[in-house]
């Protein structure tokens, strides 16, 4: 405390010079940013919308910088905040740009080349071992300095070994070449990083803060934004920005390459476009009643003796919607109801329940791709385990009951009637353990007194389950139902693996996400695929809302 008071008294002239320098920098920066905004508007590098957005961003930064000059001149603490924010943004932009032009990000691929030789992993392990030795040495009484030093030597060896074996040395050696290659961009960006870095430091110092009249609360605000900034950067670059862009793309006919025209709601119209026509006879050709250049026959229905034909402009969307809903209707109860029963059993407080809980959880941590391959083999119709079990079970039943049930010899994934059911079973198997653990946690929060009171009132176990357990478990049930439904509606990995990405046999395992993938990345109709993505989003959102509302009504009924 005393040290800093002393410092502030003596360094006032120095901070004054630094602040003058900062004010001058912000004037120059504003001019440069305005120039940059104008240049962006007039360039032909990107689409018009993108240019306008970039220009607006640059103009905002320019005005922030200009305002910073004014406030710094008046020694208002806002000037410090503005200066730090603007300089920080410029600093980050220069740093990321520099890393990109020097190939730091693409260097990850080269790093993987070196890592593939295995040595760097060993060196990393050596580093970690050294770290543990040195830290555990400090926790011992008396502190073992020899062990700490041994740990530090191992850490140093590991670090040096890693740098050598992971190809960092050749990567660093290649850097000077990029500076003198005639391209001025790396040099300019390095200068930008160093300048803004220095200015940030000089404004952040205690001396400047006091000279600008900044209080602790202002510093806390800046700290808040600073600590949030890596997170916020990721949010804007990889979430919010893409989300808005996706909405925009869904109104275009983008083919991922050149063509990107605004088509308004046409994608959405095409998704939902249906036509219903009355038929003279039940098997009249579809071409008689619908325009087959636009519509495909989706299904025929008989209503009050009159046959109708429903045609759809995008038949595959409706099929994928049906498959997804059927999948959800079957997989969600299969993954939720047995989970509740298992959780009730696990809640019996017998020894060994943790072991079972861990065991049930294992399928949910395994890669879906791997699990799908295992099940695909078990579903093999000739030598697979599932048909073997069915054959044995049927012959056992026949010999015990003397009945004559025929072995169905189901072809599972190769049969379009059973393929979706096969995927349902394997998905429910994989999700079951996770839901069991969630239910178990919910059950453990129910107070025992409720059951004791119910027993005193003469309720049997069944009545206790329906009148105590289920209502008390409602929030957990809602959560489990919602997350499982969301997962089921997005099912992709499983169907991609078992159908080789086709959604086959036929269209029996074509889910909404797979249909989206095929449209976006096999036919490259990215505008249309974006519209499909938003439709899927709305379907998921609707289901979640529906479950929340039903829950609210149900919980209202149990209010006491």
């Amino acid at each position: 405390m005393t040290r800093s008071t002393f410092a502030s008294a003596s360094s006032a002239p120095g901070s004054g010079r630094a602040l003058t320098l900062l004010a001058g920098w912000h004037v120059a920066l504003s001019v440069a940013l305005v120039g940059g905004a104008l240049a962006t508007l007039n360039s032909a590098a990107a689409s018009e919308a993108l240019r306008i957005a970039a220009a607006i961003g640059l103009a905002l930064a320019a005005s922030g910088s200009a305002a910073a000059t004014l406030f710094i001149a008046r020694r208002n603490h806002l000037g410090r905040t503005l200066s730090l924010v603007v300089n920080y943004i410029v600093f980050l932009a220069c740093l990321i740009g520099l890393a990109h032009t020097l190939g730091v990000f693409m260097g990850l691929d080269d790093l993987a080349d070196y890592m593939a030789r295995g040595f760097p992993f060993g060196m990393g392990a050596l580093f970690v071992v050294g770290y543990f030795i040195s830290t555990t040495a400090l926790h011992e009484r008396p502190v073992s300095l020899a062990r700490r030093n041994l740990g530090r030597v191992l850490m140093a060896l590991g670090a040096i070994g890693f740098l050598l074996t992971a190809g960092v040395v050749p990567a660093l050696a290649s850097l000077p070449g990029k500076y003198i290659s005639g391209n001025l961009l790396p040099l300019a960006l390095t200068a930008g990083v160093m300048t803004t870095g220095y200015l940030l430091w000089s404004m952040w110092r205690g001396e400047s803060a006091r000279a600008m009249g900044a209080k602790n609360i202002h510093t806390e605000r800046l700290n808040g934004w600073l600590f949030l900034s890596p997170n916020l950067l990721g949010f804007i670059l990889f979430f919010a920005g893409p989300l808005l862009f996706s909405l925009y793309v869904s109104f275009t006919n983008w083919d991922s390459f050149n063509k990107r025209d605004w088509v308004g709601l046409d994608n959405y119209r095409r998704v939902f476009n249906l036509t219903v026509q009355a038929l003279k006879t039940a098997n009249q050709p579809a071409g008689d009643v619908i325009d087959v250049r636009v519509y495909d026959e989706l299904l025929r229905a008989n209503l009050f003796g009159q046959s109708y034909l429903i045609g759809a402009e995008d038949k595959r969307f409706w099929i994928s919607l049906r498959n997804t809903l059927v999948f959800g209707l079957l997989a969600v109860p299969l993954a939720v109801i047995p989970a509740l029963a298992l959780a009730a059993l696990l809640n019996s407080r017998l020894p060994g329940m943790r072991f079972y809980r861990t065991l049930y959880f294992i399928p949910s941590v395994a890669a879906v791709v791997g699990v799908a391959l295992i099940w695909q083999w078990m579903y093999n119709s000739q030598v697979g385990w599932i048909n073997y079990f069915i054959t044995n079970a049927i012959s056992l039943i026949n010999s015990v009951l003397g009945s004559n049930i025929k072995d169905p010899q189901i072809r599972w994934l190769a049969d379009s009637d059973y393929a979706l059911l096969s995927v349902v079973i394997m998905s429910a198997w994989q999700w079951l353990g996770f839901n069991t653990v969630l239910f178990l946690a919910g059950l453990q929060t129910i107070p025992r007194e409720l059951y004791e009171a119910a027993t005193v009132d003469g309720a049997n176990p069944g009545q206790q389950f329906f009148n105590v357990t289920l209502p008390m478990l409602a929030p957990t049930t809602l959560y489990v139902l919602t997350t499982t439904t969301i997962q089921a509606l997005q099912v992709f990995d499983q169907v991609f693996i078992v159908s080789n990405g086709t959604g086959g046999p036929g269209t029996s395992t074509l889910t909404m996400t797979l249909n989206l993938y095929q449209n976006g990345f096999q036919s490259f109709r990215q505008g249309y695929a974006s519209a499909l993505a938003w439709v899927l989003f709305v379907v998921i959102f609707a289901f979640t809302l529906f479950q929340f509302r039903r829950q609210r009504r149900a919980s209202g009924a149990y209010d006491m």
């Binding site: 916020l232 979430f239 996706s246 791709v369 991609f496």
Partner: protein, 408 residues
């Protein structure tokens, strides 16, 4: 029944049901591990066997090649292990005639046609059964000559008893039980690694997972601390926005993210598999919820002592939140290791430099469709590491799934 007996019965029933489900949950993994150790031909044997096996053979003097052993039931009803000497011998199945002149189906014997002769001398004796005439043979059985007729003709193999080479038996090879011995083939793993560059895929996946875990912990810890402990304008609005984004499905982002990668030039490259995943609303939320429970007094004391926010975070908050960090690390590990959709979109099939395990498995599925042993060895390489991580970290992970109720 006493109360104690009822309780014991109930406990037994619970263990029985839980154990049945435990078998159901584990069985596919057992299939994976054991099939991955089989030979390709062994995987296609029916009925399916769990353990990898191979046919036991025996070296016998006088035979060039080792002879396969089978369990053979002799005519006396005794089962012995016998070696197959000769295959495709044409034989007849003979049935003795009972006094009424009808064949006795219960005492059939197998004989080569060279060993028997027709009864009744040169003209041959014939018998009429159910309107059909059949030649009668004289067949030696149990040291006696009996009159028999041929029921069917078939091909069999000749088996000898290795302990007593003069004892031979004819039996159908296909219907005989081979003597199997458990024999694992771990070289399948080496083969799968060489076949598709699984080593590179494993390295890439490990690197991507490691960097994603480190990066996510970095952004989540900083962001979580800011949300939990620093007051700044817009904090609560941004936090609500973050919470809302947990609902947005990933598929909505996949096309714009892909286009972003195209624009930066990261398609088919490792950074595309790491950098978009460094921010997560879920991780930030998890860390924030944990930091909020740390008492404020400790932090205030440190602030008065002149500690910076950074040193408060690294000296006080991070050491106190090891369980939350372990949970976040495990969640991120599983997510990064198992992800398939995004790598499928952003890495082309056949590209080896940015190959990850799930993609390599997808390629392997197409290329080795006739060797399930190799496919499942690949699946095991992809499935076993996350399972081990989960078992090591499950104390934190399962607890936090149950307390925070968030799904990965």
């Amino acid at each position: 029944m006493s109360y104690r007996a009822i309780r014991a019965m109930r406990g037994l029933a619970i263990y029985a049901i839980l154990s049945v489900f435990a078998v159901v949950m584990l069985f596919p993994f057992l299939v994976m591990v054991f099939t991955s150790l089989k030979t390709a031909s062994d995987t296609f044997s029916y009925p399916p066997r769990l353990l990898p096996g191979e046919h036991v053979t025996i070296e016998m003097p006088g035979f060039e090649r080792p002879l396969p052993l089978y369990n053979i039931t002799a005519e006396s009803g005794e089962t012995k292990q016998m070696a197959l000497v000769e295959e495709n011998i044409r034989v007849g199945v003979f049935a003795p005639l009972d006094p009424a002149g009808r064949p006795n189906f219960n005492r059939t014997v197998i004989r080569r046609f060279g060993e028997v002769k027709l009864a009744g001398g040169a003209e041959g004796k014939q018998i009429v059964i159910d309107g059909q005439t059949a030649p009668v043979y004289e067949v030696e059985s149990d040291g006696q000559i009996a009159e028999m007729i041929v029921l069917t003709r078939t091909t069999v193999g000749q088996f000898i008893n290795p302990a007593n080479p003069s004892e031979t038996v004819l039996a159908n090879v296909r219907l005989s039980q081979p003597v199997m011995r458990v024999a694992a083939h771990p070289e399948n793993y080496a083969e799968v690694v060489n076949l598709l560059g699984f080593d590179r895929a494993l390295t890439n996946t490990a690197m991507i997972t490691l960097l994603t875990v480190i990066g996510q912990i970095f952004t989540s810890v900083l962001g979580g601390y800011a949300f939990a402990r620093l007051k700044f304008p817009g904090r609560d609005q941004i936090f609500l926005l973050y919470l809302g984004t947990i609902m947005v499905p990933f598929v909505v982002l996949i096309i714009p993210l892909y286009q972003l990668m195209v624009a930066i030039g990261w398609v088919n490259a490792m950074p595309a598999l790491i950098l978009p995943w460094l921010y997560t609303a879920y991780g930030t939320f998890l860390m924030r919820q944990f930091f909020i429970t740390i008492p404020k007094e400790i932090e205030e004391a440190a602030l008065i002592d002149g500690a910076s926010r950074w040193s408060i975070l690294t000296r006080i908050f991070i050491p106190a939140s090891v369980p939350a960090l372990a949970t976040l690390a495990t969640f991120t590990f599983l997510y990064a290791w198992n992800s398939f959709f995004w790598p499928l979109v952003v890495v082309n099939t056949g590209n080896t430099r940015a190959q990850v395990l799930t993609l390599a498995l997808n390629v392997l599925r197409g290329r080795a469709s006739d060797s399930p042993n190799l496919i499942l060895a690949g699946a095991a390489i992809a499935v076993i590491p996350p399972t081990l991580v989960f078992i090591l970290a499950q104390r934190y992970y399962v607890e936090s799934v149950t307390s925070s109720g968030v799904k990965g």
